[in-house]
Every structure is written in C-alpha cells, then in structure tokens.
Amino acid sequence: MVLNIIKKFLLYLLAIALLLFTGLPFFAMVNTSFKEQLEFMQSPWSLPESFNLEQYMLLFETDFFTYFGNSLIVVVISVILTIILSAMASYPLARLKFRLSTPIFVLFLVGMMIPIHTTLVPIFQLTQSMGLYDSLWALIGPYVAFALPVSIVIFTQFLKELPVELEESAKIDGCGHFTLFWKILFPLLKPAVATITIYNFIIMWNEFIFALVLTNSPSNATLPLGLREFHGDFSVNVPGMMAALTLASLPLLLIYFIAQERIVKGIAAGSVKG
C-alpha cells in the first residue's frame, strides 16, 4: 500500500517535471506578453500586475498583420495545390498497375530525406530567372514540391485500403478515370485530406529558409521572417516581442486544440508508415 503511494507519487513527480519542462517556456512567453515594459524590467518572471493588452494593441501599428496575411495566403494556396497534385499522383500509384509505378513511388519517397538546403541555390537562381523573386508566388512551388512526398505516401496508403469493387461498378456504369477518381474515390479520402492539410499547414506556417532566401521586402515577408525582423528592431521591448510570438503561435495552437486527434494521427501516419 505504502509502496503504491510512493510509486504514484514518483509518477506524478515525473509527469509534473515534464510538464514544467515543456510548458514553462510557453508560460513565460504568454505571461510576459501581458506586462508593461517597465514592469518587465523590474521583475521579468513574476506574474503580471494586470492583464493589459497594450502590447497586443501595439502590434496593430506594425507590419505584423501584413506578415500574418502573407503567411495565410501562401499556406492556403500551397496546401490546396498539394492536396490536388498529391491526390492525383497517388491514384495511379495506388490503384493502377504499370511498370514505372514502384520507381516513381520510390522517387517521391526519397524526397523525405533530402535536406532542403541541397536545393536552395538552384531554386534561388530558378526563381530569379522565372521573375518570381521577392513575391509570395516564389514560395508556393518549393512548398508544394517538398510537401508532395509525405502527402503521396499518406494518400496511397488510404487509397490502397479502399475496396476494388468501387472501381469495377463505376467502370460498368461507364465512368472515365477522372470521374471515377474525383467523384467516387476522392470523397472517401476525407480523413486523409484532413490529415494532410493539418500536417502541411503546420510545416508551411513555420517554414523559414525558403522565405528567407526567396523574398526580400517586408511587404512580402511571411510570419517567421517578420518575427525575426521584429527581433532585430524591437529587441528592447521584450513584452512586445512576446506578444508577437504568442499571436504568431495562436493559429496552430487553436487548430491543435480543435483537431488534436487528427494531428496526432497525421504525424504518426506521415512518419511511421513512410
């Protein structure tokens, strides 16, 4: 009995220690964002005297919401394109037999281990010669290209599990491959679409290096770039910086609390099965 209580105590101790380890930096970030600058100087890590939103209001006077909007535009377009392209590519790879099927699948699979940096200089040159340099459009190509491998792996996995009868009956009804895929199979892929959307949204929302290399002017900066800009310009105003960090992390945290299970499944599917 006593042994059980000790065991339980140790278990909770470990759980709480890990809670502090993972949660404390977050807590410090949100906590500081509610402070005034002077208050922060005097006692940097204490609780705020009152929840004042002054620092958040200050963000309206900066380019923060331009960055936020830019990120949203790039990520939404890239995710939609990723879904369309990877779903289409997965159909023949999963459901039709042809000789190059395996080599093409492996070609996509290899993409998961390629360091993005190996493609950086050529993509920079390519973007310039396409006249896309320093525009939001420059980011969409690389984002989609590097999202394809995981997405194709997840889609083919799901497609292979659908019953063959679906196609057979559709063929008897005289459906072509396009109608068959978009009208009959694709609607059944909803869980996969949700998984891929969330997974890629997280990755693209936080993407930094392509944005750093392929854009230049503040009006075309995405959120991670903008935050770094802030860090350079407003390093004196720590609470203001923390408010920006909190607000920048908010969309993903919201998605996470709404669709926790889906995210967790998505990450597991994307990595383990791959």
């Binding site: 470990l14 930096p25 977050f26």
Partner: protein, 328 residues
C-alpha cells in the same frame, strides 16, 4: 527544365508497355480492344502523375542535379562569371576547419538527438498510458513545443538564456547556484549545448506522438496473456512493449538523424553560427557562403556534401535494419 523529359519518360514507357501487352496472344478483335484500353490507361496515368512529377522534378530532382553542377565552379551567384574549377571546392572543404567544425557539430547534434530526444519521447509516451488524473491536459502541454515555429522558439530562448534577465540564470539564482550563471549563448563552451537543449525541447514531443501511436497499436491480448502469466510491469515493458516498438525506434532514429543533419533555423536565429564559429552546422555554414558572402560555388559544394552524408547515413541505417530483420 527537365520537366518535358520527365513527362516523356513516363509517356514512352506506358506506351511501350501498352504495346507490349497488346501483342500478347489473343483473338484479333479482342486484341484491338485491349490495346485501345491500355493505350488510354497510359494517358490516364500520365495525366494524373504529370503535375506532381513536374513540380517535384523541377524543385527537387533538377535542383539537386544543379547543385552538383554549380559546385564545380568558382561563382558568386550574382554575376555570370562562371569559372570551372572541377572538384577544387571539395578539395578546399577538406582543409576548411570551419567546415569540419560544422560537420562535427552536426554529428554532436545527431548523437544528442538519439540519446535524449528518443528516450525522452518514449518516457513521455509511456507516461500518457499511466494512471494519472487529467492526462489529456498533460498530453496537450507536452505536445505544444512542436507546434511553435522554430524562429519563434529561437527568439523565445534567446530571452530565456539572456545573461541579465533570462529565466535560466534567474532559476539558478533562485536555487543558490549563482556561480553557474553566465551568458549561455555568448560563451563558446556552452553555446552549442544550450542550443542542443532547445532542439531536444522542440522535438521530444514529436517522438512522443510516434511512440504513443505505436503503443496504441500493440494488441491488448498480449498484455492480458502476460498478466495471466504473472508478469511484472517492467517485464511487460521489456518483453512486449519494447520489442514491438523496435520498428518505430528505427523510423524515429532515421527521422531524428536526418533532422539533425539538416538542422538550420534555430542556429541561424539564435547565434548565426557564432561565437567564433563554434555553433555552425553544415546548413548554416552553407547558407553563409551562398547568401552572405556570395560564394555560391563553394556553398553548393557544402550543400551537396550534406546531401551525400544524409544519403549515406540513410542507406546505412536501412542496411542495418534489413540485417536485423534477416536475423529474426
């Protein structure tokens, strides 16, 4: 640029396949019908695959090829002054101390990731199955670091490590260890370790999720059988959970190693490779050469070396994994 060839490759193959199939024995009318279907099928496959292959071919396959091509030149990247120098960039890499420093930092990060992220992730995953009240809350908080952008994490931890008001020094003062207080990121001896700690903080939750998914997938009957045999909790872990987690451990190791080899964001934001190049990784060193010093030829050769190292490591792990599977 290799987009047309890519398309053609698929087209010719599916067509030839269609023809090949069509010449197989069969009655004449049937043969014709089969051929037209197969031919149509070839076009379908091509149309479905072409968009993805075009984008992927251009931004990944072509780009990697071009990186190798650029690495053979002395070239700033901003003018047309190409100067072919063969493999000299690679020869120079061998004598470049900072390059080796960054390679060794990369492998330090690999080792630290394997030895801390994976065990920590496993412990966190196992805890999620323990009889703890409010475990959903614990799980939510445990996972949060993975959702934050690396840039935000980098900025946040710059403040946490700050010498004058940082949380780390504050906590050390609180428990009476003032002697250990220092400028964690400015000190050559602690900078890389301070960053590694942040990488562990960021990615342990990711492995927690992978392990949790794998543990959920273990059939309940195995544990029931073990309980009937009177196995202890530890025996259950050692004889059932752990062996069945090995495939996940292998995948996690691959992801962790590859992740550590291509790490960039945090270093770039927190130290930019300093102080005195002590925290450079291959990726940050490559970035500096290509985009800060405009030395794109040399930058390309570093990034191509990165690619080769990542490739060798992956093949090596897969080889070991296959050998392990062969033994069972």
């Amino acid at each position: 640029m290799n987009q047309p060839t890519e398309k053609k490759l698929v087209a010719t193959d599916t067509e030839s396949q269609a023809q090949q199939k069509a010449t197989s024995p069969g009655s004449a009318p049937k043969k014709r019908q089969k051929r037209s279907i197969k031919f149509k099928e070839g076009w379908t496959i091509l149309l479905f695959l072409a968009p993805a292959l075009a984008v992927y071919g251009l931004y990944v396959v072509y780009a990697i090829g071009m990186t190798f091509y650029y690495s053979l030149f002395e070239w700033s990247g901003i003018d047309q002054d190409f100067n072919f120098i063969g493999l000299q960039n690679y020869v120079f890499q061998f004598t470049d101390g900072v390059f080796w420093q960054s390679v060794s930092n990369n492998f330090l990060l690999v080792a630290a990731s394997l030895l801390t992220q994976l065990p920590l992730g496993l412990i966190m995953a196992l805890l999620l199955f323990a009889p703890i009240k409010g475990i959903r809350f614990f799980r939510s908080v445990y996972f949060m670091p993975f959702l934050m952008s690396t840039v935000a994490i980098g900025i946040l931890f710059t403040y946490i490590y700050d010498p004058s008001f940082g949380l780390v020094n504050e906590l050390l003062g609180f428990v009476g260890l003032e002697a250990l207080q220092r400028g964690w990121l400015g000190d050559e001896s602690t900078a890389i370790w301070s960053i590694i700690a942040v990488v562990v903080w960021q990615f342990a939750p990711f492995y927690m999720i992978l392990f949790r998914a794998a543990i959920v997938g273990i059939p309940e009957e195995l544990y029931e059988a073990a309980d009937i045999d009177g196995a202890s909790k530890f025996q259950r872990f050692r004889k059932i959970t752990f062996p069945l987690l090995i495939p996940t451990i292998v995948t996690s190791s691959i992801l962790s190693i590859i992740g550590a080899l291509k790490y960039f964001d945090l270093i770039y934001v927190m130290t930019g490779g300093g102080p005195n190049n002590s925290t450079h990784l291959m990726a940050t060193y490559m970035y500096d050469h290509a985009f800060s010093y405009f030395n794109m030829g040399y930058g390309s050769s570093i990034s191509f070396s990165m690619f080769v190292i990542a490739l060798i490591v992956t093949i090596f792990i897969l080889f070991i994994d296959r050998k392990r599977k062969g033994e069972f």
